[in-house]
Subunit: 451 residues, 2 copies
């Protein structure tokens, strides 16, 4: 007999068994539905791109992680995020698109990282972006977190915060302190305050030669807390006469007011002056979403406002606002703390178990059920009843239909509710209607099993 090859996969790749895969797919469908409910349109760009096109901007750490190879004479990259291909797409097709252009993309991206817990080499990102032609209203900056609120609550996540800040406000604040030149270093430092603590930030500021008195001002600035309204009034009370600062405050006010109109509760968003996000990209509103019970997870979705989506590819100014969820990472984190709710190994609503050799009646019953929109599987194997029920139990369909000779003769079915064990005889002409009713009463529990 031929030598067998061990059927292993590479580390850093998530491959799920059916029950978990079904849960992951429910998660993906919820994200997709939420994105579409706001009128975002799907795009699907290639996983492979020409290296000189994809790497127009990349460099440093990103470039090292990229899966890059040649085939023939072509230098090829696997996409490492969804944003760069999207910017290439918009530049390429700008004359065919209607602006503001609202697109979502849920797809796999690749990073050849050293595999470690929580770091994936292949993972799903779920991105939304709204792109303006030359300009884009700041009201859209409220739509994006509103969608994320809808996504996360629909998934079943209870306690989380969408944290918002504004880069103009930060820029103006540090300018008002005369720290324009050091502002990048300071922002990077302050962004870490939740991890390293205020004292270490103070030491770091000292190393940057920030005067002691100004350190205090910075630390009390980033620790401003409260509702949006409270934070904005404290910011106003600082009396800073700087245009960028004022614009930033106004934008945050517009976003906060719009979030209220959109029905996002104040318990789930806040202004957080500590967060900054990528320094060379974002220019206005920035977001980070954290899960209250799991602060060590860091941000589970993030994004912000940028001035130029596609400056490497086009002269046209394409400002945008976007946000991204790392679905694979989020699923993995939730699964680690047993918060993923599974429902069996199959999407099947009802499993038909024929007891005899006849196939026509079981297939006809299945046909009737499928025509009524009921997901139906028929089990054909010449095994004992016990083994048939073992299959039913292992796969986990909520209902089982048992068909023996008597059932066929009388044109009925035996319907068993697998949760309660109750069994009843139902006529063939009624079974689809009855099962549809039973299934529609079943409460669809969220993917995330958080109390």
């Amino acid at each position: 007999m031929k030598k067998k090859i061990t059927p292993k996969i590479m580390p850093g790749f998530m491959e799920l068994l059916p029950a978990k895969q079904l849960a992951f797919d429910r998660m993906k469908a919820i994200v997709q539905n939420a994105y579409e409910s706001y009128g975002f349109t799907p795009l699907d760009t290639p996983v492979l791109e020409l290296s000189d096109v994809l790497l127009a901007k990349a460099g440093g750490e990103t470039e090292k992680q990229i899966y890059r190879f040649t085939k023939g004479d072509t230098d090829i990259c696997m996409r490492f995020d969804l944003t760069v291909p999207f910017s290439r797409f918009v530049a390429k097709n700008q004359n065919d698109l209607a602006f503001p252009f609202r697109r979502y993309c849920i797809g796999k991206v690749y990073r050849g990282e050293r595999p470690q817990k929580g770091r994936f080499r292949e993972f799903y990102q779920a991105d939304i972006d709204i792109i303006g032609n030359e300009k884009l209203s700041v009201v859209y900056d409220a739509e994006i977190p509103s969608i994320m609120y809808q996504v996360l609550t629909t998934l079943g996540l209870k306690r989380f915060h969408i944290r918002m800040n504004n880069r103009k406000l930060l820029k103006g604040f540090y300018a008002s302190l005369g720290l324009e030149e050091q502002s990048a270093d300071i922002l990077r430092l302050v962004d870490k305050i939740d991890k390293i603590g205020a004292e270490n930030v103070r030491l770091g500021l000292k190393d940057l030669n920030v005067p002691l008195e100004i350190c205090d001002q910075i630390l009390s600035f980033v620790e401003i807390d409260g509702t949006s309204e409270e934070v904005l009034s404290q910011l106003s009370a600082l009396g800073i006469e700087n245009e960028a600062f004022k614009t930033g405050c106004e934008e945050l006010k517009i976003v906060s007011d719009a979030l209220m109109a959109l029905g996002v509760p104040q318990t789930h968003y806040k202004i957080d002056l500590k967060i900054t996000r990528g320094l060379d990209y974002y220019t206005g509103t920035v977001y980070e979403t954290t899960v209250d019970d799991y602060p060590t997870w860091g941000a589970i979705c993030s994004g912000g406002r940028y001035d130029n989506l596609a400056e490497n590819y086009t002269d046209r100014k394409l400002p945008g606002i976007g946000m991204s969820i790392g679905l694979t990472r989020l699923f993995d984190l939730l699964d680690d703390v047993n918060l993923i709710r599974t429902k069996g190994q199959t999407p099947t609503d009802v499993l038909v178990l024929p007891m005899g050799d006849g196939v026509s009646y079981p297939l006809a019953v299945a046909r009737t059920l499928r025509e009524a929109g009921i997901k139906t599987e028929v089990y054909f194997a010449d095994v004992k009843f016990k083994n048939k029920m073992a299959y039913a139990n292992k796969t986990g369909s909520p209902y089982v239909i048992i068909l023996g000779e008597d059932e066929e003769k009388e044109q009925v079915v035996s319907l068993k509710n697998m949760a309660t064990g109750e069994q009843e005889i139902v006529s063939l002409s009624m079974i689809a209607e009855q099962l549809k009713g039973l299934l529609s009463q079943k409460e669809e529990l969220p993917v995330i099993a958080q109390e």
Copy 2:
């Protein structure tokens, strides 16, 4: 200004603009729903695999087309189909799965082919397979084409034929003619009869030293035509006393009877003794689906029965039956003959156009609509009414809501039906209900616009 990079993609990669992408995604969703309606469970294997695992079986043409590269010390391949990763998955997880194991997978696969019309380097496959543990009932061989019938008719395809044959029957037939040794060459030749014609097959058979009289027998065998019943009775009349032949006929009979019980009309399937499929893999039922109006397209979905899914990875015998649709190719073919129906550039049901500066009322209206399950977009840009309507027309939402100062004051909306141009005033408290009603009346036309 920095030099711009041309935002191009590689040839052989399909990248769609929004209207077409939406149509493609509708197609994908229809396939997925049909697969799930038969209780198939989704799997998602990595796009990258270890070369020595993935290429356990491959060789020749396939291997040349593979995207293969090293990263660090790892020899990596991009998957070139969904079957090999699936067989690796089943071997790896055989003790956790319930058999028969029914999985579907809709995903991208990669082949570094020379790009040419209709050949893609990245394309979606949509596979279903049912895998038995040691054995698997032949009734399942009817379920697979029944699903494909459902998929294709739901897509809107009208005239197509699922052609079936059986390899045991062929094996037995050629054995009965004393042609066992040449049967592979003969099958390859006969498989081409629709392309090259009977006379060329006759010449080819002569080259294979098949006696003239037997050529006639082969040609009249492959040209047996009619309903399943008619074909089976003609086969029976041949009086061939060969076990494999008889088993093949019996299996075709079971499959035909089961297809009838499943409600697949005889107008859409037939026994076709010409088709063979891959010689080193399939062992029983084989399928090929052709579109009547476009015979040059060849098979748009195909598959069959195999004895050993995963013989490179496990000693356990895992027989299976499966079928696959090349979604990207099918979409491309349909699009070429203008059979893809698009519906605008957005999934949006209703576009809200605020006329003034106020944002709260438009956002509150949008919230109300979204909560009722209506896909709603709000347009914020300080442009003329004409430009707002141009955006509405370009993106193609079926309804538009216009909100001026009067509407807000009176807590109403102006609802415009974009198809008819009719406009009416509806109260805020009624709008969600009314739009839901209007949208539910709209007939959802199939993706394929075939008469």
